[in-house]
Symmetry: C2
Subunit: 380 residues, 2 copies
């Protein structure tokens, strides 16, 4: 990884999807200069719904002035960003490309075509889940209720996780919800899908992020701030929660993690920061357990003991995570990787964690139907 | 390429998108056995519109029983199939995967959500083209009128191309329009977007095709019928025809072709069969010219002299092409590559061309915003 571009997550009513993409590309160029780009990957989940656009990857490549450069759009739900970077990684590995640009861009607020609960429900099984009224939040609510019942978990733990994310986001200039919340505020917030409260859920967001991947040789030519992708892996699970042995295990995450650790030849204890997919607080808890950084049903104890706080030994989502940085679905994975790049190159400013060497990034689609895991390392 | 699965293109009202995908996978398994699969790519343009399904790649992987296998959906308009194979090719090249399955699957007829002219117009620029009433067929109609005027081309030439495609499709058991047409019938057909007649246009289609890509070593283990992908390339052009120097040049095609020839180290004269993207007859003419197999404005002369007939030295679309095999948009590129694989392994039955060694396959998105080109060679 050799460079990045970002725009603050938020409600960008006055900017089109291509505008967001162009803005982060220009931000990237302002940092690394006008470098050679051989290939583009674009991750955008809702381009056809919110912006009436198929072929958004070639459109964006043209809009950026990248003449004739091949451009592929990747769709993997809200794991689109992580999967796009995974595909970009493979294309560099193939030896056919030196320099590959990934742009994640998403519009969820749009005057006549804002992304609805029904649109998001297309992330569920269109035969066995969504037609029966199940929604994305509704599915996570089922998981949360089961989790709370099975392990006698107090709500405070979920609230504290949310409080922590908001606290982190205050220091991240690119975050959407840059305000602290209290446990009281969490409890007072409306119920979205019982037992989920508003502050258990990531917001509706627009945003875009750009990441430049290069071969090591070309990277050295153009940048002094390189980060190594030590592992890039992906795995799927039974699509519908109905088919899973347990709705409290995210097997796509544990499988992708296992492969990433073996590919990177690192141990869990070498990981200094975790960047996880907290689309809902329960998603965060289950992710931490499926990644093996917390025991089953014990995450609340760690959270209540500030084990994952920004100033702990194992900070989780120092930029505020999906919960408070925001969750522009198709772009989220790219944000996660860009923020981790910033941490490893010491560019994270007020949300910088002291001196991290290895960061693990987990990006999940839907209810965990697919997960992308990356392990990033500082180049000494 | 080590194996394939197919279903006849048509109107599959009683089959869901996942059903189509499963059927071609089972067809593939019946040919090559239950082989190892490390990764899946899925190309389907309209999954979210016709089947209310995001994350269709992980869904299909699960539906096929491919436990935990990573699965990526690629969207590049009606070039999705060719681009999916391109990405699969890169992932094999990366050395990280031995055996990669590509499934193209498309439903364009669906009881409550058939794909409309408006849906297809999302293949145009959502800011400068479609909002002003331009449609996909309308854009090709502009190209056709300009072509006919500029080069004084008789309509017969377009008609004859269509007649030829229908003739070829009669012998292809997987083709949708397995009936011959006459020039008279062509002229009598209704006008869709002047000057396009119905028989200038590919039909609305459902369909699915599966293709297995492997490393050479693993391919030898599992199959006696291997085909080499000598080149796999992609390129983009100015997205909107408004921005192009000429609306009669498909620069994404000429650029991708140029790269493919240099990658494969073959000359045009070594190509024995052309498989081209004839979504409209004018698209075929411009493709042949942009690929350099015909001079600008001269294609009609070659067509009228049967230069591209199935029994000529340079057959074009011996299976009937998009025009008559059908055009299930996201799956089309996979069909093209599967049919070419069948030709090179001598499995094309009644639509077999005698003894081809090299086949060139061109698959285009929208109005030529992106093109994938493959050069396939028999392994002696």
């Amino acid at each position: 990884m050799a460079g990045y571009g970002l725009i603050r997550v938020g409600e960008h009513w006055n900017k089109s999807l291509r505008h967001l993409g162009a803005e982060v590309y220009l931000d990237l160029v302002s940092r690394v200069g006008e470098v050679k780009i051989n290939k583009v990957y674009v991750s955008s989940l809702f381009a056809a719904e919110s912006s009436h656009q198929y072929l958004f990857a070639p459109l964006l490549a043209d809009h950026l002035g990248l003449e004739h450069v091949p451009a592929t759009r990747v769709e993997a739900g809200d794991a689109s960003g992580g999967i796009a970077v995974h595909e970009a990684f493979l294309s560099i590995k193939s030896g056919m490309f030196d320099s590959v640009l990934v742009i994640g861009a998403e519009k969820m607020t749009e005057h006549v075509a804002s992304i609805s609960t029904e649109s998001r429900a297309k992330l569920l099984d269109s035969k066995y889940e969504s037609p029966h009224g199940l929604t994305l939040a509704g599915t996570y609510a089922l998981m949360m209720r089961e989790y709370m019942d099975k392990y006698s978990v107090p709500r405070e733990a979920f609230g504290m996780f949310s409080v922590e994310m908001h606290k982190n986001a205050v220091n991240n200039p690119y975050a959407q919800l840059r305000f602290p919340i209290t446990l009281e505020k969490y409890f007072e917030s409306p119920t979205t899908a019982d037992p989920l409260k508003l502050y258990d859920c990531a917001p509706i967001s627009d945003g875009a992020a750009a990441l430049l991947l290069t071969s090591l040789d070309y990277g050295k030519e153009i940048s002094d701030s390189l980060v190594e992708i030590k592992a890039s892996s992906a795995a799927t699970d039974n699509f519908s929660i109905i088919d899973r042995d347990s709705i409290l295990e995210l097997k796509s995450t544990s499988k992708a993690l296992e492969e990433a650790l073996s590919e990177a030849k690192v141990k869990r204890r070498n990981i200094d920061v975790l960047e996880i997919h907290d689309s809902f607080t329960i998603a965060a808890f289950l992710s931490l357990e499926s990644l093996g950084f917390s025991q089953k049903g014990k995450t609340h104890e760690l959270v209540l003991n500030n084990y994952f706080s920004k100033d702990s030994d194992l900070p989780v989502n120092p930029g505020g995570g999906l919960k408070a940085r925001g969750h522009p679905m198709g772009a989220t994975g790219v944000y996660q990787l860009v923020e981790s790049y910033m941490q490893l190159t010491g560019e994270a400013g007020h949300f910088q964690v002291p001196d991290p060497k290895n960061i693990l990034v987990q990006n999940m689609g839907g209810t965990g139907s697919i997960t992308a895991v990356h392990i990033l390392s500082r180049i000494e």
